[in-house]
């Protein structure tokens, strides 16, 4: 009973947030002139020839609240305007750029969680020893690292010094041509996955080679955060009574750490995974820009620089939607793992 009530309450809580997000996005839109705003309402670049007509027909000179509902109606019909940087309507562009970003996230997210938990555990188990000091210092330096600078340094070394060992962009020239050829079926548009499905290992390794640096760049900052959280919650868990009990009954140290302490210590990591996701989206903007990987982040950064209003608003809408949904999943998962939440 309580579980259902909790879930319903949590899902209902999304509604005011989404209304709020729409108000924020509209407020940003309202900061632009009617001419700039017109771009957010068209689906085809040719409509811009009659910009006065667009302004009139979409009521861009009407009172604010009328405009808000007009705009909301367009958004619900999936019309987010025309993006000049992508040369496509915003919604189409979103699905066009999505696969490259998903690929990046697929490779970096598990790495963040695994490495972060591993390092955090080591650090806590060896509290006060050299390895603890090293990992802690590493974590705080990693957390302070400017992502864009770190990525450029990596490029300098692995692309410059080692003569193109790990190049930028998503695919090399040859692999890029092969991917677009008739012989290659693009199931998901995620390069590594498609290459495996096609059984083409040349493309697979080429895509992997292009992934290594962006994944490292994206991972370091988030890893530092997971590690720090894991360390403190692990220390807390190791001081609990059940650990002493486990030791007293003769369990070896490995079992105590892995089975008794670490499992309980992992709960706080779940709590912050929603926040990790926000870090991921932000990291993607910087990482894709540096490595010239044509994904969502690359598009959004270019849109912001080139005053591509519809794409910028789209970035806020998309990231908010994804973020809200992830947070919902995290909260429900958390309630499932930790009964105190749903009963409290």
């Amino acid at each position: 009973m309580e579980v259902r009530a909790y879930i319903i309450r949590r899902v209902l809580l999304i509604i005011p947030v989404l209304v709020g997000v729409s108000l924020i996005v509209f407020a940003i839109l309202a900061l632009f002139s009617p001419e700039q705003r017109a771009a957010a309402f068209i689906t085809d670049i040719r409509q811009l020839r009659d910009i006065r007509g667009v302004i009139r027909s979409h009521g861009l000179d009407a009172p604010v609240y009328v405009q808000y509902f007009n705009w909301l109606k367009e958004v619900f019909h999936g019309n987010l305007g025309w993006s000049k940087t992508a040369q496509r309507p915003v919604l189409t562009a979103f699905f066009y750029f999505l696969p490259n970003t998903v690929e990046l996230a697929l490779f970096s997210a598990p790495l963040v969680i695994l490495v972060g938990i591993w390092l955090g555990t080591i650090s806590a188990v060896h509290q006060g020893k050299l390895i603890d000091h090293l990992t802690r210092t590493g974590a705080i330096v990693g957390w302070s690292l400017p992502t864009f600078w770190f990525g450029l340094l990596l490029l300098m070394i692995f692309y410059g010094y080692f003569r193109g060992l790990l190049p930028p962009e998503a695919l090399g020239t040859q692999a890029g041509l092969l991917v677009r050829s008739e012989a290659f079926t693009r199931y998901t548009h995620i390069n590594t996955l498609d290459a495996l499905l096609n059984g083409n290992f040349f493309i697979f390794f080429d895509a992997l080679r292009h992934l290594i640096l962006p994944v490292i760049t994206l991972t370091v900052v988030q890893c530092a955060m997971v590690m720090r959280i894991m360390r403190s919650s692990m220390l807390e868990a190791l001081a609990k009574g059940y650990i002493a009990t486990a030791r007293a009954k003769g369990a070896d140290e490995k079992t105590v750490v892995r089975k008794h302490a670490r499992r309980n210590a992992m709960i706080p990591v779940i709590t912050v995974s929603g926040y990790l996701f926000a870090l991921l989206i932000q990291g993607v903007v910087i990482t894709e820009t540096i490595f010239n990987r044509k994904g969502l982040g690359w598009w959004w950064a270019r849109a912001a620089v080139n005053l591509d209003v519809p794409a910028v608003l789209g970035s806020v809408i998309f990231s908010a939607l994804i973020f809200v949904i992830t947070n919902l999943i995290v909260d429900l998962l958390y309630a499932y793992v930790d009964p105190r939440v749903r009963l409290g």
Partner: protein, 316 residues
Amino acid sequence: MNFFSLSSKGKWEDLKKATRPRLKELKFSFNRIRKSPLSLVGFSLIILFALIALMAPYLAPPKYPHNPYQIPRYGYSATPKPPSQTNFFGTTEGQYDIYYGVVWGTRTAFRIGFMVVGTILLIGIILGSISGYYGGVVDEIIMRVVDTFMSLPTLILAMALVTALGHSLDNVMKALIIVGWPAYARLIRGDILSVREEQYVEAARAVGCSDFFIITKHVLPNAIYPLLIMASLDIGAMVLTAAALSFLGLGAPVGYADWGQMISFARNWIVGPPGNPLAYWYTVAIPGLFILLFVLGWNLLGDAFRDILDPKLRRR
């Protein structure tokens, strides 16, 4: 300090007596700092940067006194030049002097950090206090606004706001303020909710103290430590975000002393000429190192504050 115990003859003695426990606590705090090498590093870094910022006119005398933040150029060639007698750290793309840029960029970084975090602290404390102390409809409205802002990734919202407001450093700061305050409001509200039920607050209310007096004298001092820790960590984080926005080309105008922009100058010079791939390392490494150390300093300081200020942790 007890106001009523001050007698006319022994004011000085009373003052000494009253401040003694505080001095003891202060000494204890300094002891804690001295014993932790990482917090020492943090303090030294911040003091070093503060000195650089204060001494900027002497370390790097401005070429244009009316506009000292404009980095002087030594020619108009695109290719960066290595460190030399005239340019300690070399010149970056467009012959902007790197040494001058990083020195005056320190001032820019402090200004961004203090302005942004100071403002969001103020907004957060005011709205958070109102929300937590009064509760009810006001609380509900403020918290829903906070929820909304916190459901948007910081950088994306900041990017959108800067695009709408116009590309400039002032607008980057405005955007970061709009993005940053909700976390503080939520934190201070939670603290106030837990402090509000304490007996001493109830006692103050029973004596007839005004709401304003209770909030400023009883509630806030007991809820402020987590906020200060967060503020210290956030100065680093905000400077980092501002640098990222400048790097993307949304921040300072071209040639303004700003670390993020200096790294964006270096983007085309990652790979040197054949045979010397690391020829232009100084264009990337030096401004980046300044950002890293500045942010690291504030993060270490925040960690030190956490150990020192938090009454629950300090005696461990």
